[in-house]
Amino acid sequence: MAVASIAHGSAHGDGADQLYVETRELRLQGFLLFLVSDCVLFSSFIFAYLYLRNSGQGWPPPGIKRLDVAFAAWNSVLLFGSGATMHYALENWKHGNFMKYMWMLIFTIILGAGFLGGQAYEYTHLIVAEHVSWWGSGIFGASFFTLTGMHGFHVFVGVCYLTVLLLQSAAGVYTGQKYFGITAGTLYWHFVDVIWVVLFSIFYLI
């Protein structure tokens, strides 16, 4: 049913479909504005972190070890890989390959959940083994856990969003012409990836 919907579109509800097409650009602009506002939110935290980092006597502060670059690089690749699979999920949807789309979406969800698992492991290791915490390690702990935690929350929301997309797609909610939810999901997921490129650079590589 869903495959047929992709190929031929909805047979009924032409008025609603027309409204959908007419308002698509508006919704796209609204969603891009949302991403820009999220970008401003992250930027303010990132610049606060960079300011604090450069106003001290070296980084990381005395008594705190550098973060584990090898593990972070591996975990980052999981998230970047999920960006690639999400991109191809959308491409397969556009070309009417429903099963490939579903598999790509499932891989994206698994990789996103894997990244969250990696982040949970890193948090646990930092708090238990290295005694670095959000509340008791000064600027370093506060900035690291706030920024990566905020990003992790975005990833968690993204995983939930993509799971809903998966269920909706299986139920035949989207059609060949009517798939803004999938486009928005792809944009959101790419945004989450790109934010991690910045966070990975400033926390682990410089």
Binding site: L28, V69, S76, V77, L78, F80, G83, T186, H190, D193
Partner: protein, 71 residues
Amino acid sequence: MNVDFAVLERTGAVAGGIIVGVVAFYALYKDWSTPGVENHVFKLMLLLLGFGAILAILAGINVLGNFPKVA
């Protein structure tokens, strides 16, 4: 048997980074001439995704993030 997890993680980061980088830049190449705002945003994000993959590769081979140990 003593497994060095850091080596495994770095190997995974390099291998995964190469795959993701190739996929991202190939997708960018394929989509280069597509019109529309959303496609331009996708292209920008694919470019940054590819850049992220390069960073992960460089971190994996110890070019970036290779800081001297504190005594």
